[in-house]
């Protein structure tokens, strides 16, 4: 093979790889432009103030109200329940795996945890609806068949591996010199962990938590199946609610004609969802980079 034909081949491969990389960027730009275009159409009819601060959401019905707060409340409620499970459990798991567990235990527990992340979310959804909810109804009087509690708990289990895995990375990247210094000062293992290692890994752990929140907000299948479809401005986890994602699914499944205001609502809600998760991911990214700087 001559030198020049080799060079041509190299360039061709380079172009091919560049094309592959651009596809995902172009698709993202495409999605974003559709989202922006339809959202702008929506805000021609409905004022952003009414959308962001209104307390009733009934765009599909007779008395159309476009206040997105009930959907936001539903999303926040389910995500809070999920975080209340995933954060403590995930952090404790990470501490155990990083600071206490013998290698043999760790070799078993880590992959098992990662299996949790591989379960399809539709399975989690029916697990919440058909197993967790009936179980909880034995313990919690007045718990409705659709509610925020059960999908929240199950979602917490689902994002637990993410919290534990990212937190463990953060704990692991704390230089062992810090631990040794703590031991040298007479600290027990618990004291070294709680007072030295966890604070040192704090920005990494926060990054994990924020990423988990962003995942919880965007989660769709579990809440669509088990949380109900009734937009309701409430903090009560025992009654049917509707999240932003579940609303988008509901409208997409019906035969709402394109171009109508009902149809545009899903893009406005989608935009809000995109902006919130995007902001959270940025914060998380920034925190992780700060951690990297601290110990490099």
């Amino acid at each position: 093979m001559s030198v020049s034909s080799r060079g041509r081949l190299e360039r061709a491969i380079e172009h091919l790889l560049f094309a592959c990389a651009s596809v995902s960027i172009l698709v993202t730009i495409g999605i974003l432009s559709v989202l922006v275009f339809e959202t702008v159409q929506f805000f021609r009819t409905v004022s952003p103030i009414e959308f962001l601060f209104g307390t009733t959401w009934t765009p599909l019905f007779f008395d159309k109200q476009f206040g997105v707060l009930p959907l936001v409340a539903g999303t926040v409620l389910v995500s809070s329940v999920a975080m209340a499970v995933a954060l403590p459990a995930g952090l404790l798991t990470a501490i155990y795996l990083s600071e206490y567990a013998p290698t043999s235990v760790r070799r078993v527990v880590k992959p098992v945890l990662e299996v949790l992340a591989g379960v399809p979310t539709v399975v989690y959804g029916y697990f919440a609806l058909l197993f967790v909810t009936p179980l909880l109804q034995q313990l919690v009087p007045g718990l409705a068949g659709f509610n925020a509690l059960s999908p929240g708990l199950v979602m917490g289990i689902m994002i637990l591996p993410m919290v534990s895995s990212l937190s463990e990375d953060a704990l692991h990247s704390v230089p062992s010199g810090l631990r040794e210094a703590a031991y040298a000062l007479g600290a027990t293992r618990a004291q070294a962990t709680v007072r030295v290692v966890v604070p040192a890994a704090f920005s990494g752990i926060s990054a994990a938590a924020i990423l988990a929140v962003s995942r919880a907000i965007g989660e769709t299948m579990i809440v669509t199946i088990a949380a109900g479809q009734q937009p309701r401005l409430t903090g009560n986890p025992l009654v049917p609610i509707e999240t932003m994602t579940a609303y988008i699914v509901q409208v997409s499944l019906g035969d709402t004609p394109a171009g109508t205001i009902e149809y545009q609502t899903i893009f406005a809600v989608g935009m809000l969802l995109f902006v919130s998760t995007f902001a959270l991911n940025m914060v998380s990214q920034w925190l992780r980079e700060r951690l990297r700087e601290e110990y490099s």
Binding site: F61, F62, D63, G145, F146, Q229, P240, Q250, G254
Partner: protein, 308 residues
Amino acid sequence: MIAIDGSSTVFPITEAVAEEFQLVSSGARVTVGISGTGGGFSKFCAGETDLSNASRPIKPVEVAACQAAGIDFVELPVAYDGIAVVVHPSNDWVDALTIDDLKRMWEPAAQGTVARWEQVRTGWPETELHLFGPGADSGTFDYFTDVIVGDEGASRGDFTSSEDDNVLVQGVSTDELALGFFGYAYYEENRDRLRLVPVDDGDDTNGAGPIAASPDTVRDGTYRPLSRPVFVYVSTASLARPEVAAFVDFYLDQGADLVREVGYVPLSPNEYELIAGRVEARVTGSMFGEGQDAGVTLAELLVQPTHP
């Protein structure tokens, strides 16, 4: 090849008939779509389909669209569908509901205000009221709001709505404070998990007092106003094709058993005969004019002249 589209409520019946028909008549292919009653009629009046399923009579605007395209049709009522009103089995305070009770719960003015059972009727518990019903794209929703609230599509928006009746069954059967409505067939399938509520229309001429939905009360017209006939419309141009004519004959002849099998209520043999007679004579147009009284029984309508 016979093309059918339209209502998802009528789909199970027509699909069952189509399957049986394809077994006995070798070679005939029947496709059944679900675009909703309105979506079905827009295809039908554009000449794209041979038959159209409908969970309500054709509207005057749709008749006009068909006429403009030169499409004549014969209207075939094929079954009755009742709308069941249900509560959780452990609900011990609701023994019956009046149309006014239902209206108070579902009318647009109830949105955000009628939130507890005691607001529906004094003496009922002060607990929350959780409502479940079909979504705004559903023919059942259109019909319910029309006869209960008095205006098609007029409903409160703060209830759990789903196009999937199984979701509604799941919701009501697991929530002690729930009340919901959906097609009778879904109650029949889940009767051990739900309690059916009798409905009183305040009109004693079609059965006194509260009446529970059942195949008998739906058929004899006493479960008013929450029962209705469902239809198939066939274009006369398509009827000229032997396979379409054979399909329609088969539908009216064998349909009753299949209707029962899929959970709906068949018409009486006499009514099926009257309809077959109309197909034979190619009686075109709709029996239901503007403002047709919903209380008239089909047997009475079938012998009246049609509206153009």
